[in-house]
Symmetry: D4
Subunit: 254 residues, 8 copies
Amino acid sequence: MDRSRIIDLLSRVKSGEIEPEHAARLLKDLESDELGYATVDHHRALRLGFPEVIFGQGKTPEHIAGIFSSLQQRQSTVLITRTDPEKAAALLAVFPELEHNPLARTLLWTRDKIKIRGRGTVLVVAAGTSDLPVAEEAKVTARALGNEVDSIYDVGVAGIHRLLAHNRRLRDAAVIIAVAGMEGALPSVIGGLVDRPVIAVPTSVGYGAAFGGIAALLGMLNSCAPGVVVVNIDNGFGAAYAATLINRAESIAD
Amino acid sequence: MDRSRIIDLLSRVKSGEIEPEHAARLLKDLESDELGYATVDHHRALRLGFPEVIFGQGKTPEHIAGIFSSLQQRQSTVLITRTDPEKAAALLAVFPELEHNPLARTLLWTRDKIKIRGRGTVLVVAAGTSDLPVAEEAKVTARALGNEVDSIYDVGVAGIHRLLAHNRRLRDAAVIIAVAGMEGALPSVIGGLVDRPVIAVPTSVGYGAAFGGIAALLGMLNSCAPGVVVVNIDNGFGAAYAATLINRAESIAD
Amino acid sequence: MDRSRIIDLLSRVKSGEIEPEHAARLLKDLESDELGYATVDHHRALRLGFPEVIFGQGKTPEHIAGIFSSLQQRQSTVLITRTDPEKAAALLAVFPELEHNPLARTLLWTRDKIKIRGRGTVLVVAAGTSDLPVAEEAKVTARALGNEVDSIYDVGVAGIHRLLAHNRRLRDAAVIIAVAGMEGALPSVIGGLVDRPVIAVPTSVGYGAAFGGIAALLGMLNSCAPGVVVVNIDNGFGAAYAATLINRAESIAD
Amino acid sequence: MDRSRIIDLLSRVKSGEIEPEHAARLLKDLESDELGYATVDHHRALRLGFPEVIFGQGKTPEHIAGIFSSLQQRQSTVLITRTDPEKAAALLAVFPELEHNPLARTLLWTRDKIKIRGRGTVLVVAAGTSDLPVAEEAKVTARALGNEVDSIYDVGVAGIHRLLAHNRRLRDAAVIIAVAGMEGALPSVIGGLVDRPVIAVPTSVGYGAAFGGIAALLGMLNSCAPGVVVVNIDNGFGAAYAATLINRAESIAD
Amino acid sequence: MDRSRIIDLLSRVKSGEIEPEHAARLLKDLESDELGYATVDHHRALRLGFPEVIFGQGKTPEHIAGIFSSLQQRQSTVLITRTDPEKAAALLAVFPELEHNPLARTLLWTRDKIKIRGRGTVLVVAAGTSDLPVAEEAKVTARALGNEVDSIYDVGVAGIHRLLAHNRRLRDAAVIIAVAGMEGALPSVIGGLVDRPVIAVPTSVGYGAAFGGIAALLGMLNSCAPGVVVVNIDNGFGAAYAATLINRAESIAD
Amino acid sequence: MDRSRIIDLLSRVKSGEIEPEHAARLLKDLESDELGYATVDHHRALRLGFPEVIFGQGKTPEHIAGIFSSLQQRQSTVLITRTDPEKAAALLAVFPELEHNPLARTLLWTRDKIKIRGRGTVLVVAAGTSDLPVAEEAKVTARALGNEVDSIYDVGVAGIHRLLAHNRRLRDAAVIIAVAGMEGALPSVIGGLVDRPVIAVPTSVGYGAAFGGIAALLGMLNSCAPGVVVVNIDNGFGAAYAATLINRAESIAD
Amino acid sequence: MDRSRIIDLLSRVKSGEIEPEHAARLLKDLESDELGYATVDHHRALRLGFPEVIFGQGKTPEHIAGIFSSLQQRQSTVLITRTDPEKAAALLAVFPELEHNPLARTLLWTRDKIKIRGRGTVLVVAAGTSDLPVAEEAKVTARALGNEVDSIYDVGVAGIHRLLAHNRRLRDAAVIIAVAGMEGALPSVIGGLVDRPVIAVPTSVGYGAAFGGIAALLGMLNSCAPGVVVVNIDNGFGAAYAATLINRAESIAD
Amino acid sequence: MDRSRIIDLLSRVKSGEIEPEHAARLLKDLESDELGYATVDHHRALRLGFPEVIFGQGKTPEHIAGIFSSLQQRQSTVLITRTDPEKAAALLAVFPELEHNPLARTLLWTRDKIKIRGRGTVLVVAAGTSDLPVAEEAKVTARALGNEVDSIYDVGVAGIHRLLAHNRRLRDAAVIIAVAGMEGALPSVIGGLVDRPVIAVPTSVGYGAAFGGIAALLGMLNSCAPGVVVVNIDNGFGAAYAATLINRAESIAD
């Protein structure tokens, strides 16, 4: 349950609309939902200020549907990531209200328009066309979590002038997510150009000694530009989640 | 040259204290300093808003001394990291004004008291006693770059109550740097407890299948807590640098 | 042949029901059964006190059927592990008496109700929903080998309160099998909470730098909680087998 | 503080020897001891039923001495592992009451004679002479934690008759710790011979493609004998700790 | 062209059956056959005393057929290895005279009965049923290259009595090929039992930390039994080729 | 005890020189010698036909001296390998009769002149000057085990004419040991030139991506010349031991 | 846009055929073409003197078609690499003017006959038949970039005479591209034979410890022949591109 | 013996200054020099057009001195690489005519002034100060082999403006050697800027996940700039040798 829905509930208690005993039962349901195959952590939204997100990979469409239904009762926004075309089709057949982004492999449901809560723009920069699935996953996630987002694509370091041409946009971002496969040098160059937090996402793009993203991962961990931080290979979602934590104007605890 | 020193220079031009021609020559010197063995990047301080830091590992005491002298002319703060006892002794003999932290392996010089510029506290949490050198490097760096810093040490996940006892301090931090060797699980637990950016630093602490920090690094990259970001093994400096970028109240570009 | 069946045979010799010469021939058959493609080790049940288990992966349905028939003659319980849906269907067509657990990928046959021989409960704890196939393999195996079993699922360390809520059940178990992919931190936390043997099973769940379970494996081997022991990636069967050895009230040798 | 010392304290409260207020203060001190560089977890002894052990590697003699003094106040037994000759000499100079085992690299202090609490014997088997430091660490630890211990050394699988000659002792053990470097095949053979829990310890003995114990570690993880469990390379201490958990007659929680 | 066929040719020159000029042209064709996509090395049979063998993996059926036709003109025996079912079917449709061993994935053609040229028996020992494809490849190859062959299957080290039962056959072999996956300990035990050359073949059998045969490969390279030599993972062909070189009564150069 | 010494003993029994009771006691001592830190396997000489060899690495001079004394009582030849200069000096001080080869890092003692028992020559070929320690270890071992030995050094594949110049000697060898570091291509070229068993020994010579011998090891395992077999990195001893098994005219069992 | 087309444009300006304003607009279009999913770098042809090449792997046929259309407007030659049969068929259906080389997996379009601009011949040498796809990719690329090309195939080091027979052609080449899988020794031998730049291309040909080309890659990086340079596994395109840079008679900058 | 010295010798034969018989003997000595521990390949200079270079690592000062003396008789230039300070001192004591470059770890002797034979300049670019030893080794080697050399140091990609400032010098080079550790991104950026052959040299500079140069090596092999070729980690010598082959105006074979 979102923080806003809890405040709403408590307001209705205050106003006498709901009896305290009834409210207590509702609140008790909040913490988690035992589905047998999953322990849906509704408390998370309260504790961390974000809705629970469903990682679709390795889950059956039935499991995803069950967890989605549970979350839909209590959250204003539900995001499902890593859904291949078959899973997406199966879920869309049941929940036509889901918004599908095939490139990002995401399904998104929002009760209302997403409220922007971040201080600035999360800018997603990708080195090559093949990095787009990961970059788009980051974009969709960042937007679902309440950020303004922008993107610059296909500006790898072998044509450095293409990146330099966007210097102003790089400087204007609040947080930059730099997505790259192969040698993964893009975050180092960006990190040397601007004074913004740079979250590097290695992708599994490449072949041979790219080793499924290891080359890019190592390149980013060894970046000569200080301040570059790294997430797992192809983890566009995680990068956007971290960017959101960085970009928030005020903490949930306040 | 720090941004503040440039503003000071320009103010003196405005006031007539310095002639424009003379100021132009001074500004021209700013960009870089060719020492033969190094191209000291004074422009960096302007571009990124931070002083250049000297990475002491793999440099001779003579080289470090030369670069330090060059930076001391233009910056208010100079930090030297990764100095083993012999290098530290050699440099202290020449520059007794340096403040030595043997555990962190750092040498620090500041013209004036460091001005706090961050929005909140950078909290350094370490899993074990053996992680202290890396944790202390992060602390010294974060302070030198203008942050309030705090720390909690020896709270590994095998005694989870020790960490939970500090829940309030974790929630009050602006950014958390989580330092751990061995299985590197500390950032996952912290990332699940609070809604703060968590920068994970794997350390080379451990033996056998720890593989000099690889186990911790992989553990952190695969954290089941979304939003955890990672830096290189033992890279306390980099974590603090990233934390500073995140913690800054306003950007240098504004 | 099970120990119980041998005792039964010898009793019938004692009572005069079977002639010694005939019994000798029956006993001679016990040791092994040459199927050409396999040397079925019937002696194992005597030597180790457990029935032989058929590892289905990499064997044709025909081979499995042959070995199963051989074991069915001499054991009260036959377990087949690692059977994909096609193999399971082929075997069920021939042996409809087999009990199929598709999630665990097991087929089980028991002559009589399985006799509980362990001292306490084997508790299987899994970090995430995607770890269930391995966790269920451990459960099915532990039960087939004569243990009381219990399970707690989806209690990963990124929501530590979910695990702490089960503190009492953790302390009441005789042996704990902790199943986790990604960073594999669950066994460390459990090992720090209770004074029970913890068998850690890394799973291949994850992506990118999870490297098919290597990250979890390394995390578990480097656990900061002493006493955690580890088995191969995805080896739910082996964990349950070890748990059974630990849980037995008395040894077969007595 | 050991469980026995707490019971003693409470008995004295009951008898009126100690005032409740005073006892409360004493109990409050139990949980942990903040030494600045370490948070000594006295609560562990209560929670897990074992004394805290000091891992000497990566700690200065001063730190070890400080932690030792703290533990000596509250525990009947203090074990220090991984002490190289220099550290051992420095600590013996201060604490001559420590018992030094140079081969095992341990220092041990016991207030009284160690009470045997295990159900049977912990048997340490080592493949070669070069594995003795790890095997001895396991022996010293198992004894310090209250087990009967026994050992068989230099019985590698290339001379299988040497191992088979000890078949009876293998069967009589309650738990077996199998220590081996190089190809690490010893636990597989033992696990196939007896129905006892086998804890495999790979050692870094070997050269070339032994890769500091990786070959032995992989061999043990892939053991064809079910039920073999594995600990980190050279981790004799962890193996003995796990063996103790398995061997205990009754749990601390009872 | 086989050595025997050359001697035959030269005999016919001596007897006047063939004119020297004609024989010279025939000999000239021997060295190699340019097929465009391959340079068939007919000279190899002369130089090394063995027929050229076709490695089927990574070649199209058309290429294999072309090379086979070329070799069939000049050799008494042609062996094709690593042919999957589709390739085998395609080739059998064209060359029904080929003898197919589906388990070994080989196709064999011989003009006459293969002549035994070795001094003793090549014994192939396999640890498990899943290792049979590699073991059978070794058997078929050794026989095609002129050796007496024998085999013992499913005698892994976890049931050491199964291997010890064959002690006599092990001692009577001239060369032993030991095939094993998982931890690959079989060659070490055999190498310690007998004074015969042992060629170890790691297989890709296993899962998880078996890493496609790396665990077995490392185990064999680090064998504590001196004199064990190793070939590539799954390389039954190479092991048999080496065994043949060892087993030959006299060298081709004599 | 060597086979020859046993035959001698039995002859003296036959002749009445020794009483059967006394002989029985002497034979009983043969099997093994318990030194506490080692179980000296005297039975090995009987079983395998070779004297036990002492692997000096990882053993103290005291341990080596003890094992040497035990073996000297029963064997005609004792070889100690992997002795660094300090250990060698310590042992030579006590046993001046040892023959030291500093390059090979061996110490050798022989009661009488070594009897040649092999069928032909063991030829050691090394690619570069830096490979000599490993090549010499192979030479010393092969000679100690009763082979004629010869060597060709510094004939790496980058100057292929140097190797081709020795074609005759390569063809005349009974077994070839090919020692190479870096890319390890020497055995492939030799294996393509002659029809002799080739035992490849990768060395740790090289730097960077040589990875301590891994590059050479992989190169040799993937040799395109069939019949090349491989031993561990730097394992000159093991190569010579295998060469001896191959080269023996008749087996010890006959 | 090719350099030649720019010179043509400027000539037409000079002659009055095109107005300067119009020419400026045309030139402005040159730099890049924003397709949304790609930033086509037309400036590259100017900057580097080569046409942009489309790397087909990981791009949809639609994306490739779009980029191809964009490049076809401005370049005289367009090469598409890494197109599997399905992609190739889809593209050929739309652009029948493309020349398909299925073995090389390339599609090539040229406006006019390709002009030879290199100083000498680029010679592609391949070790085995299975290496042909990579070798052919190198050949097609080198020709498309304006070089004379030649090739020698199936001359691996296990039959060294096959390579030595081509000594003259090796010496006559301007640049040699040496393609090999398995142990990758071919470039070392060639590099020792001739004084030509040798570009080594490891291929993923092999199995087991070939590790998808790692063995060949390491072998080439550790070549004992100085001057051998290496590109990524299976990167025939990159090798040909480098060979072209080396082979050019004069630089574009002149 | 250099080509020039052979021509000189033959001229003296032509002029009658030397008798043919004597010249024949002199020529016979040319091919190689057997020093026992080394086969000095004098023929190499003829075959490849370059003097033999002594790789000092892993050779004793005595061996280096012996090989140097042999080469000094026949070559005009002798270069010794990888000499640590002790070896250098020992050699300088004997051969004071050697020119020592301690940073490059080289010793150089030239009979006369080195003749420039290359077509253009070999430009060595290094990313950081710590890369200088490798960069200097490349410079010294390139000069010794007859090239004009130039260098740009400390221009890593995190301060991209420092590199861009040298655009003109990059374009004017004939061959560029790009030396970098850490993420190794420098060659990608250079390769995208200019149309020159770029030889990338990864260095072992870095820590943690730099893995001794692996991160840089992988980055360079996966460069998104086509045409970048790579040599072994820290192999400045090899890069310079390759650059020399590329830069030569005419081949030795002409």
